[in-house]
Symmetry: C4
């Protein structure tokens, strides 16, 4: 949908995935974990299967399916699920934007199904299929974004070109991840770019459909085109800050958890010392926290 809501909703979707990735990869780095490429065999049974359903996969299925349906049936009363206009003699194609968007969203939904099948239903996780399953929708997005730009204004094209740039970089990174799934730089670069796609789509909705000045941006003003690129650079900075904030929050939470776990673990054997340490956390804790935080950051730095 070439509308305000049609840019806000995928923007929120990308942003939520980016934030989810940020927490997930931060925690994995803090715990020193990697992705299991070949999982151990799993117990069959419906209950185990349901337990293992990944949130990410379900989100992709939900978002993708709803967005696809919205393209054709939103706002209520609309019905756009037809390829060509049967009433005209030369049967021209109609709703090209809707079909392109629906194609894009359904690839994301399928990637969600692949995740669910691989992580929950199959006897073993097939990580390779999941990698390919998530790389493909971004390639399709890039292809469709590129062909989306026929016969549009320069402002709209600039906005979409920058989105295409972020999307192509995500494609490159996801392709590299097929062969290097445990590269931490790739994890965070991907996360940051997905978040940038999200916030940029949110901004794009305002630029294209609700300009703050109340008037549409004029394409014949070079200053407008130059500011679009500047804004994109600011989005990158903003998302890096957001990513660092999430990492820091996760590190705080993780330290508290592992501290509590260590407490529970060691309480029986050192009943006197630990409460002491816990009683004066101000100095010892601070020092330890700073050290640990750095060590955790180090792990990011392989």
């Amino acid at each position: 949908m070439g509308t305000f809501i049609g840019h806000i909703s995928p923007g929120l979707a990308f942003l939520s995935f980016g934030v989810l990735y940020a927490f997930k990869f931060s925690l994995m780095v803090l715990r020193g974990e990697g992705i299991e490429l070949v999982s151990p065999p799993r117990q069959p049974g419906l209950r185990g299967c349901l337990k293992r359903i990944p949130a990410e996969g379900v989100m992709k299925i939900l978002y993708g399916t709803l967005a696809m349906l919205a393209e054709f049936f939103y706002p209520p009363g609309v019905y756009k699920l037809s390829l060509y206009n049967r009433e005209k003699p030369d049967l021209p194609f109609i709703h090209p934007n809707e079909w392109q968007h629906a194609t894009m969203y359904s690839y994301f939904a399928v990637s969600g199904w692949v995740d669910v099948l691989s992580q929950a239903c199959l006897p073993r996780r097939l990580y390779l299929l999941e990698s390919i399953g998530i790389a493909l929708p971004f390639y399709i997005e890039a292809l469709l974004l590129y062909s989306h730009m026929h016969g549009k204004e320069r402002v709209e094209n600039s906005v979409h070109t920058l989105l295409l740039l972020a999307c192509c970089l995500v494609c490159l990174i996801l392709t590299a991840e097929i062969w290097r799934p445990n590269d931490r730089v790739l994890w965070f670069a991907k996360t940051c770019l997905v978040m940038t796609q999200g916030t940029w789509l949110l901004h794009a909705a305002f630029i294209l459909y609700r300009p703050f000045s109340g008037r549409a941006w004029r394409s014949d003003d070079v200053a407008n085109l130059m500011f679009i690129t500047s804004f994109f650079c600011w989005h990158i900075a903003l998302n890096i800050v957001l990513l660092l904030a999430i990492f820091w929050l996760t590190a705080l939470w993780h330290r508290r958890c592992s501290w509590r776990a260590a407490l529970l673990d060691t309480q029986p054997s050192f009943p006197l010392k630990r409460p002491d340490a816990a009683g004066h956390p101000s100095e010892y804790g601070k020092l330890q926290a700073a050290e640990e935080e750095t060590r955790l950051l180090q792990e990011c730095d392989f």
Copy 2:
């Protein structure tokens, strides 16, 4: 040939190669085999040589030679094997399309000869030469497709640009395969892209020469250009489904074969148990089948 049949025939050729690759690589994955880069020395002699002639090489020779001849002599009575028009004073070049297509097809035919020579006639297989021999025709195809687009309509150019995109990706993958011949992801990506080239050429023939609406697609309608890209995305999805179906069929067939082989192997030693298991395949077989199928899928996932 810039005709209906001139797009249908290479489309069928690419599709048949794609399907052949799909079966071949599925079987290799299921058997856990790789490509032998340096074969053991082989017995000389014409009979052994004839036995070793690969189907793929013969197909390439046949298709390439026939298509090349068809460019110049089809339909019967036509004779286009001349570079320039001797009747005009400035000797202008004629039949540029035919010569470009013939160049392309002859590279594929030569790749076929390289396969046959390497796999059947030489004392040892030269896999490296075969890799280079198949990468080259796709580079030539990309180059000629690119220069093919001078002065054509936008609909035709969009169709050929997408074909060029698939072709360039095949070039990239085949170049990577020169150094990584046993990468399974590359095998299946190549297979899927070759199949996509095939089905897309079939579709292109209809778009350009037999539109379903009975009227030529208009280049000034942006909806047409956008739908061409959407259709291409659907072709990719279609070919992935086809590839998975072929893998599943091959897995079924392979399981049956290896089961029978195991049966024959072990029959003398467990004469009582095996017929039993064979008599009630419903339960044991199903369970085993599901497990094995997953294990086979796993092998794909290294």
Copy 3:
């Protein structure tokens, strides 16, 4: 600032970084050192911290901050720190060039802060963060240079395209350095390209704002566009010569230092021989120098 001084100052900044890199990497090669990816833990305390502050980081912070301020407040009396013109009814954006430049400079300043924090303040050096921190500003520079070229003359665009080319190569190299931080070819290629960016910006200032002939270069003269590329090629050669000269100077200095160190080391044990050798350095020294110089060059050649 699209002015003479606005091209001279970043030119000098890039050139000074290039020269700094040239000395630094030459010395590292001559000493056979690599970059410590994970430093040993460091002593806390303000004094140690201040000692460890890297010159490079401080230079980046200073240059970046000053240049950013100059964009908005130079020459004195100017005030450009506003995004849009509040006096006009449609609130048009103003100062697009200034905001683009300020964005670029602040990324470099942030990279300086990352260097200072990582090398001086944190308990351990985080080399990976520094690598990413310096790669990012060049990506942003490339993006902004690209969007800078809307609606300008062809001479200006040619000059900026060549700058963009050097910048993109630096991006590529810095990205490769994230994974291969100790590759000596990458070190010197980066150094040479950063120096080329510097001298080219100096030259560009003269081409665009103070042409030697006293008249502006005409964009409709193809000879001008061709000479711009030739000049760029000469800059590359010039900077390679400069780089070799710096390497040679560093090698001279390093030999003298290590010779003196060896002298001090061995003086107690060979009190008679050494002064002798030092007394007639003409022959022995020359031979040794030539040999050592070559050995040092060899180390560059891994």
Copy 4:
């Protein structure tokens, strides 16, 4: 020189280098040799130095210097060594083509000097410097070819675009060779592309300055543009055939040499058998030849 001879002479130069490379790399493959990255220390002295001077380096110096001089002083009586026209008031640049070509040629000459210095004069060979020294001129050639195309006819641009394509591929390969100097596929790909550049320049001279039909190729005829690409594809095929022929000739010559060497080696110990074998070379020799030839081809196939 944008003249017939100005395209013929670099064409012959590239072709001669390609043929030289073809013999050199064929022999290295047949002998199972690689490039010595770090040579053993060498004896000083002028005689040893002169003996070690490489033919390739001398060729580069000679060709480069002569071509550079020819740009400015050929045909005799011409003097073009001036950057701008002092007689006109606005001092316009003159001879842009000559200066671009001279820049290109001098980079090749410098690469020759680097080869001579590294292989003959320095105590040890610096292979890395040689690799960089030969990669650089091709990058400069690509850059200048690209900027060469301003305001020319489409036929000339098509011809130069294809040359640029070959040149860019050579750049890529030479860059890869800096890190993988002993990759045999890269050796032969480079050889073939350099030869193609040579023959294509020869052909280009005829297309642009001496068309066989006697009339200039018209740029408004699409057939001409399409045939230029077809011809380029035929050049690639031709050069592959030429490369295979040179490999076969080298293999013949190498077999004869190693056979004679083996004869001389073993004659004292088996004085009776060898003459026998040498007396009936028809059967035994043929078989051995075929086997050895294949083995040698195999070595190409690592």
